[in-house]
Symmetry: none
């Protein structure tokens, strides 16, 4: 028996007047999801706790059975792992922007003209730097998509309780990074970052990629703005914890990072963009291949509905949900426990995550099929699971797979 | 007002194809249970947490409001209390088998030819022994049913973190007991056990009961194999905790032991076997008598459905549930809060406990009666209790009985 948790990121929503009071999921035509609901057991799920606005990262951790309040130190470690960096417990990781600064170090473009190419050469220039006085700390830097990058500091005596360098606005210089807890460890990290931001400008100002960009009238990527510090947590590997050989099929660095840090095989999918323009056929084929492979557990994340929610794009969200539905028909099999859910609501009205619960349906040979025949936020609430939490999902799945130890006699 | 919790052990199950997708409880004709559901408030209950595979012991503890994660040290203490031994906090208790060993101490029959008589004399021979070098430790030993027995060590400086002597297979000698935590306390217990196992052979080899068995061509019960060590927990008495004079009507030593350790009066029921062949009329009469008595709370456990589940006996499980139903009619009264539930699912397909939730119905004068009209795993999920945990049951019951303190003003 295999287990699959398929998470349609941000799919859940709130009732929308222009949809006659329906949610996008209720308005979308989703015959395959409805089929899963009909042949499964349904319920609503609070990814963390009722009313808690979960991030995708904290929600996924919770659904995988990890306590986000003890494991989650910030987004940095997961983003860093997501671009393939071999992060290690104790490393301090950051998300970064490539940005444009003028000679006074005032940020004129936080995204360096939304730079799309040449970032790997620029990143390499940062990756190989050392900072005077901090020779004991290794600086690991890699480009992510577009203007995004990750930074990892590896060395003794580093803390992660530091403020962001990113001023989050243009027309200002980078913010001075501070040790928020006053500890010498965080102060060391802050000192390194303040040096690194300044040094990055020195290194990148005349970098060939930037010279070329300036010649083309494009904003140069001549400064690095780190934010979202987090110490890489010491996470028990998924396979060690559950005894299941696991793979992760996800589009975004954040969720791929969760796959990496929990020790799953993270499968690359060509054409997966993380947006509504993603290649769902390609994702479908990757899932089918993984199901045919030796894996006993798959974590799947598809991100487009969340993007549409963040963009307030109602039509796009409905359409994307329908397109996701269309690939599900080929994925339903008898020999797997298949869980379909979302990691949080991303209402188009709010354009951000909310704490509303999400629908969940569990299909498989021995579930107590209930009377729910539609997959939606409200229909699911009448189902046989009633209301559960993200932290219950793995226990329920492992129990159905008969992979749980008995507690007692 | 009296409160009753009646637990039909292992009654809940999963849908079964040969029953048209029904569970045994759904397939069984249970007019009395359905009447309770109709006139009560219903829900599903996770004895411990969703997806956790509870034992009968850990589930009962949880339902009685004790945290099994802090109270439960192993099966030994409850089995020992269940045969009527006056166990005390700090005692180290074990389940044991009477087994057969040859002259090289190789186990030739782990159950001593499923010995049924004479065990009390054999047990007495062990019970009175002392071990050289461990004169400060009292050895308390009593037979249970069949080839089963219990051992209690009482004395200073004993630990319970030791391995089993029972090799769990024939053709091998008893396993050397080891201190699993390396502590001197557990080492002392291990040393005692290793001596006791060897000594038991010396004492029992020529015991008159065994001489007689050998003469009859039966395997002698000439060695003791302890397992399942646990320190007897210091459990607050049920009456001290809740102010209710309580009795326990249960068939198995394990649940009777929970009654003893929580300080309930444990009522003997003639003809109660713990199997599907049990005398349900006799159990019914014992319940009626206890209800007419001064008790304010009754814990009732009937075990046959669990046995049928473990045996994979679908027909037997359905039939037994119907027979249990037939005694319920005489037990429904207006002046009690009556809770009917199970301690866990024991699906006939799995032949062991699973973590699926169980149905629960609460009857009594002031419950918020819901629309559920059938007592079953799935019907209950639509009830007014929604999904609760075992640890909530006593609080809900006491509140309905108006026996709870107010928290706040």
């Amino acid at each position: 028996m295999k287990g699959v948790i398929m998470i349609i990121d941000g799919m859940a929503d709130r009732p929308i007047e222009s949809l006659g009071g329906k949610t996008p999921l209720e308005a979308a035509k989703t015959p395959n999801m409805d089929r899963l609901a009909s042949s499964g057991i349904n319920g609503i799920m609070d990814p963390i706790r009722p009313g808690v606005r979960a991030g995708s990262d904290t929600s996924h951790l919770s659904i995988l059975g990890y306590d986000p309040y003890s494991v989650y130190t910030g987004r940095g470690p997961f983003e860093a792992a997501g671009v393939g960096l071999d992060v290690r417990p104790g490393d301090i990781a950051f998300r970064c922007n490539f940005a444009t600064a003028d000679d006074d170090l005032v940020i004129t473009d936080r995204r360096a003209g939304r730079i799309r190419s040449g970032t790997s050469q620029i990143a390499e220039a940062i990756n190989s730097m050392t900072l005077d006085g901090f020779e004991d700390v290794e600086i690991i830097f890699r480009e992510s998509t577009g203007h995004r990058a990750v930074l990892v500091l590896r060395g003794p005596g580093l803390g992660d309780n530091v403020s962001d360098a990113d001023p989050k606005t243009e027309g200002k210089p980078p913010k001075k990074v501070k040790a928020l807890d006053g500890s010498p460890e965080s102060q060391k990290t802050a000192d390194i970052l303040n040096n690194l931001v300044r040094e990055s400008y020195e290194i990148l100002r005349d970098h060939p990629v930037n010279t070329e960009r300036i010649r083309n009238g494009e904003a140069p990527a001549n400064i690095i703005l780190p934010r979202g510090a987090g110490a890489v947590p010491d996470v028990e590997k998924f396979e060690d914890r559950y005894g299941l050989k696991a793979a992760c099929i996800a589009e975004t660095g954040l969720i791929r990072g969760i796959g990496h840090i929990t020790g799953m095989d993270v499968i690359d999918v060509e054409g997966a963009t993380g947006g509504t323009d993603t290649d769902l056929e390609s994702i479908k084929n990757a899932i089918k291949d993984a199901l045919d492979d030796e894996y006993e557990f798959l974590l799947i994340n598809i991100d487009g509905a969340d993007e549409a929610g963040h963009d307030g794009d109602l039509e796009g969200k409905v359409e994307f949900i329908e397109r996701v539905d269309s690939i599900l028909g080929d994925l339903i099999r008898d020999d797997i426990y298949f869980i379909l859910t979302a990691d949080h609501s991303t209402p188009v009205s709010v354009m951000d995550h909310t704490g509303d619960p999400v629908p969940i349906t569990i299909n498989g040979p021995e579930v107590r099929v209930d009377d729910v025949s539609v997959f939606s936020e409200r229909a699911a609430a009448a189902g046989g699971l009633c209301r559960i939490r993200g932290s219950h999902v793995m226990d329920i799945l492992l129990d159905l797979m008969n992979r749980k130890e008995k507690f007692g006699a």
